[in-house]
Subunit: 418 residues, 2 copies
């Protein structure tokens, strides 16, 4: 029985580490055959574009452990329910059957868990011999059931380091020039990435976080900026792209994607303009965008360890023929209440039905009373997720050595799709 793996949704600095761990685990598992990878997520299955991963040299697999982006291509494609489009699912099962694929591992976030769940239900409905598991991935950290999601810790580390570094820059300039620096980060509906900016500061004296969970009031925001600049000379603002006004509307919104999520971006220049207009302060602003989710050069070792453990667990479910699960992280209680005890996690199985389309937001207790910083509880939660470093190797050209795989597609055994 062969296995098919695919990547879905926004890629991350560590999703290829998931793929490499899947390949390792499949090789080590006698009950499983070969590992195919679909090109561009579920689309690759529909199109019968299946990569014969075992043909890639070992060096490529070693490099993929530390290569950002999605080496097999990703997609933002939503499947209709199988009752509406039975022919779509029949095609999926035909492709799997044609290549003796008995397990499908879908590496993504809550939309991808939805896809995996639909495929599992369709397989049960038509008695297709397919085990489906999701492997968690999202920098947004908004997946239900899990303590954290692969990709988040690394993005959070990148944001925390960037805030620490840009704060030092601003501190040097503030006397005669710029008083406010704004960093816009991702996180459509959940403020986890914005919260990570708070790890760069001991307290909120010179930092201010704009969370999507807290309705944005221009008057309160400007008052907070002025107060901090008055007291400390400058302020660094970490703003979520998902910030919304008191009517629930995004402060800044562009087009929309296949899931009818609005494509966001542009909160930072908007806040900068508000600050100039209402407070007369000079601002600089940055937008991290893809940089925050592809910065493998600054990955979190904790995140990488989670990534590997979760991928291996998903392969275990496939080998055991279990379907409809996603491996998740549970944080173990600090039994001795030791102050500096390293946080530990265990991997558990959660049903896809509890994950698909759910969004985990920041609890109110993680956000300070004034709504503009993180609490000590939030820091205790976040801090272990960015610990440790694992630098990629660098080449003589001064750049990290990232994999550039030339994949070989399996010969098609079915007629073309669409």
């Amino acid at each position: 029985m062969n296995v098919c793996y695919a990547q879905s949704g926004g890629v991350t600095a560590v999703i290829n580490a998931s793929a490499a761990a899947v390949a390792d685990a499949v090789r080590g598992e006698k009950r499983l055959g070969k590992l195919y990878a679909a090109r561009n997520g579920i689309l690759g299955v529909l199109r019968e574009e299946l990569i014969e991963t075992w043909r890639a040299p070992q060096q490529i697999w070693r490099q993929l452990r530390h290569t950002p982006g999605g080496a097999f291509g990703s997609c933002r494609v939503k499947l209709p329910p199988h009752t509406d489009a039975p022919q779509t699912y029949a095609r999926l099962f035909a492709v799997f059957r044609a290549h003796d694929i008995g397990a499908f591992l879908y590496n993504g976030g809550n939309d991808s868990a939805d896809t995996a769940l639909k495929i599992m239900r369709a397989a049960r409905a038509v008695n297709a011999p397919l085990a489906v598991a999701a492997i968690p991935k999202t920098i947004d950290n908004d997946l239900a059931q899990t303590d954290a999601s692969p990709g988040f810790g690394s993005a959070a580390k990148y944001i925390a380091v960037t805030v620490a570094e840009t704060t030092l820059d601003l501190a040097a300039m503030a006397e005669t020039s710029t008083k406010v620096f704004i960093l816009e980060v991702m996180g459509r509906h959940a403020g986890w990435l914005a919260a990570a900016g708070g790890l760069a500061a001991k307290d909120g004296a010179r930092h201010l976080i704009v969370f999507p969970e807290i309705p944005f009031s221009r008057a309160r925001f400007i008052a907070a900026v002025k107060k901090k600049v008055c007291a400390g000379g400058y302020v660094v603002v970490v703003a979520s792209e998902g910030a919304r006004d008191e009517g629930g509307r995004f402060l800044s919104a562009g087009g929309s994607d296949a899931f009818a999520h609005r494509q966001l971006g542009g909160v930072a220049p908007l806040l900068a303009e508000m600050i100039r207009a209402d407070a007369g302060l000079k601002c600089h602003w940055a937008v991290a965008d893809y940089a925050q989710r592809s910065a493998r050069h600054l990955a979190s070792l904790a995140d990488l360890r989670h990534t590997r453990a979760l991928a291996a667990a998903a392969v275990g479910y496939a080998a055991a023929g279990k379907s409809g699960l996603m491996p998740v992280l549970r944080r173990l209680p600090n039994v001795n209440n030791a102050n500096n005890a390293a946080v530990k996690w265990e991997v558990k199985a959660a049903p896809l039905s509890k994950i698909a389309n759910k969004e985990r937001k920041m609890p109110r207790g993680f956000i300070s009373r004034d709504g503009f910083f993180i609490t000590a509880r939030c820091r205790r939660y976040l801090s272990p997720l960015i610990k440790g470093e694992e630098s990629p190797p660098y080449g003589g050209d001064g750049l990290p050595i990232y994999a550039r795989p030339q994949w070989q597609l399996a010969k098609k055994r079915l007629p073309g799709y669409k």
Copy 2:
């Protein structure tokens, strides 16, 4: 004879490495006494806010070698010519005299070289016993007379790595989602930082650089974007904040600073809007802003070595009583024409009059004929500047350990200023 050091203009990932190297060199030089550092550049001299650097613990100096930002504070302040404001210069010399300061080292770019030059000329005019030297610093790499400027190599490395990483991200998403990613970088009038993005790609097949040196044509830009997306599926655009239209006007301009430079930013969203409107392609965009000049976590070792050598040379000029100089880098000819020979540099002295207020732009021969990429010559120039890594140490919290000095100011010996 004591020495006064100060930081000026936009700070960088390595300007504190300059400061630490100055401190080391002053300690090792018998002809020199103690090292003062002015707070916030030349302003600190005028205000007699002088830091007694020797009171800081050794650990702070070790940490400053790898701490970004400007640890003494910087400023954007332009001095009037001494014939217009003799009292300003009289104040400077009074402060220097009151603390037995016989040498002033100003660490900055071409504006700071202008300040240093004015002080040197004023000192000569009134026979004040002061040697003045500039220590080069600018991420823009636009200083005349030198092969490269401290700060540039590290910013260039950050940009090259960010382009490499975000390109992998975009490549994974392009099939069903985003086709264009735009990264906006600094460089007011010179495209050196934008050019660094080209180091992430073998050729311009999937990359496109918008230089300030090449007048921007919307039609040609959109045509180039479409062509690359058609051929390769996606394109990464590296855009200089200083991009100008065919009439020489900045594409995007905000306010202006003390030097009447316009504060830029916002080219990326502007290009994204053009691409959406004219080509109907989905874009993501990022703006690096302060992150590119403070990213010490990704500094270039070549840049750090230059930084240290140039700072030490400037202290040497001061010890020898030479005034009006800036140490610069000369690239040594590759005598054997060996293909993989490491590039070497020597440090030479250049007169401030040849540096002050000059701006070195990209030569046309460094830009491809179509105006949208770098040439092989440019790559040969840039590549050695981003070579090598020197990671800062990380703490148990997952963040780099950066210095947080608590400076002690010298007791004032003069009446207050202004």
